[in-house]
């Protein structure tokens, strides 16, 4: 969370993480080059670059796509989610090198514009197996470019979280076309089943993780229905909420995070204004609700980000009936101050 835009937002943790990314990239490229030269010494330098960067980019894309569902299934992965942006931009740069060298090697020797050549050299668009796989790669790279170019809070603020999120969800489309790019391209020439098996295992892992996470989190969308009075519904027992943390319930069509802190209870929308992170999975730090994804903070009483930030969350009325926590599912307007419910010491 920063007030001013910086080209790259680095802190100690991100620098350490970026160092790991650079070491990982170099190790992968050197290993791939070594193996290729050992098993296929006639490979040209251009071919070596195209293959090593292509393999690394698809591997990185798999790792990136695992982070989201893993963080939803296990909070220990949240620090990786916090640092995911730099891994994504690095992956785009590697993929761009792959794309640039491929276009140079395969499409610049003729008398047709290389980009036109890319789209017209193989016109079997009606065939599934002979579909021009390089066009699929180009489409995937274009999506990755749009994502990398807008991977900055400046764009998030100016596009708005909804449009930004919709744009970045296109990574799933990119994944789809890039898997087909590999299957209909490189793997058509690969006789060893190892690469095909590795790709299939990676694909099944990604799909399984996303489906498991989606179905698991969908369970949390079941509305609480036990009506206790005209306006309030039963949410949970007081003991269910850990100190300085929240319990998340679904009411009024959206999830609500009920926080317990300093002998008080407050409830706000579970959806962070930054990137829709799950606030109820965060904790109270320095008196503020802190989003587990990127550290955005809100005052639990009124749902407002501390000045000079301007984000505001809907807030909710709570009541205590003995140990039963009751919630009014009708959200108050964003930023409305609601006096926290005091927990009387028995």
């Amino acid at each position: 969370m920063g007030l001013n835009y910086q080209l790259v937002l680095w802190n100690k943790q991100k620098k350490r993480y970026d160092l790991l990314i650079v070491i990982g990239i170099l190790l992968s490229l050197v290993t791939f080059a070594g193996l290729t030269l050992a098993f296929n010494p006639n490979s040209s330098l251009e071919t070596l670059i195209i293959r090593s960067t292509g393999s690394l980019a698809i591997l990185m894309l798999h790792l990136i796509l695992m982070i989201g569902p893993l963080a939803r299934l296990d909070q220990r992965f949240l620090p990786i989610l916090y640092n995911r942006r730099h891994l994504g931009v690095s992956m785009f740069l590697i993929a761009a090198i792959h794309g640039a060298f491929s276009i140079i090697q395969f499409h610049t020797l003729g008398d047709v514009n290389p980009i036109v050549s890319l789209f017209t050299s193989n016109m079997e668009y009606g065939s599934l197996v002979n579909f021009p796989f390089q066009v699929l790669g180009f489409a995937g790279l274009l999506v990755l470019f749009l994502m990398a170019a807008t991977s900055h809070d400046f764009w998030l603020a100016n596009l708005g979280p909804k449009a930004w999120k919709a744009l970045h969800m296109m990574v799933y489309l990119a994944y789809f076309v890039l898997i087909l790019h590999v299957v209909l391209g490189a793997l058509q020439q690969e006789r060893s089943p190892a690469m095909s098996i590795a790709l299939l295992v990676g694909m099944i892992t990604i799909i399984s993780l996303h489906l498991v996470a989606a179905f698991k989190t969908a369970k949390g969308d079941q509305e609480i229905t036990e009506q206790t009075s005209t306006d309030f519904v039963y949410a949970c027992e007081l003991e269910d909420i850990p100190e300085d943390r929240a319990i998340v319930v679904s009411a009024g069509g959206e999830r609500v995070a009920i926080y317990k802190y300093d002998g008080k209870l407050s409830a706000v929308s579970n959806v962070c204004k930054h990137q829709f992170g799950p606030l109820g999975e965060g904790k109270i730090i320095d008196g503020c609700i802190t989003c587990p994804w990127h550290g955005y903070q809100y005052n639990p009483k009124d749902g407002r980000a501390p000045a000079p930030f301007k984000e505001k969350l809907p807030t909710y009325h709570l009541k205590l009936d003995g140990n039963r926590v009751l919630l009014n599912p009708n959200a108050a307007p964003e930023g409305t101050a609601i006096e926290p419910v005091k927990i009387s010491k028995a």
């Binding site: 197996v129 390089q134 793997l187 999830r255 959806v271």
Partner: protein, 141 residues
């Protein structure tokens, strides 16, 4: 995430789970029966007998070599490297240019001398670019 985003994620991945593995497996099963990149580089094959017949144009010289009166080896001297990033050479039979594995001769790339087995019954050469999936040229003997 809010509820609508969670639903969108869920339906996206159900769609991906149903479609992507099916297309990917079909694509892998449909891979050609031979790996064009692993066709042996025929530049190191030794010459057989003497030249019985020849053909030459601006790009290539073909020597038909053998120890008797029957040619058993095709010596291809490439004068100009092809523009395509990868070039496969097939024999043609009955004037038909087809990408059949039994008619695949090998790959050519750099300028130089390439030698291939020369079977009976073939009547020409057919050059093909497997990356762009398009024919390059045909030479009739």
């Amino acid at each position: 995430m809010n509820r609508s985003l969670r639903k969108r994620h869920q339906w996206t991945w159900i769609f991906v789970a149903l479609l992507l593995p099916a297309i990917a497996v079909y694509g892998l099963m449909s891979a050609p029966a031979f790996a064009t990149e692993q066709v042996a580089d025929p530049t190191s094959v030794a010459a057989i007998g003497q030249v019985l017949n020849s053909y030459e144009d601006d790009v290539v010289k073909l020597n038909f070599r053998g120890t008797s009166t029957t040619a058993t080896q095709l010596e291809l001297i490439l004068k100009i490297p092809p523009k395509s990033a990868q070039t496969l050479v097939y024999y043609t039979k009955d004037g038909q240019a087809e990408q059949q594995s039994e008619l695949l001769v090998g790959t050519i790339g750099r300028r130089g001398v390439y030698r291939f087995d020369f079977p009976q019954g073939v009547d020409g050469l057919y050059w093909f670019d497997p990356i762009k999936n398009e024919p390059i040229s045909t030479i009739n003997f």
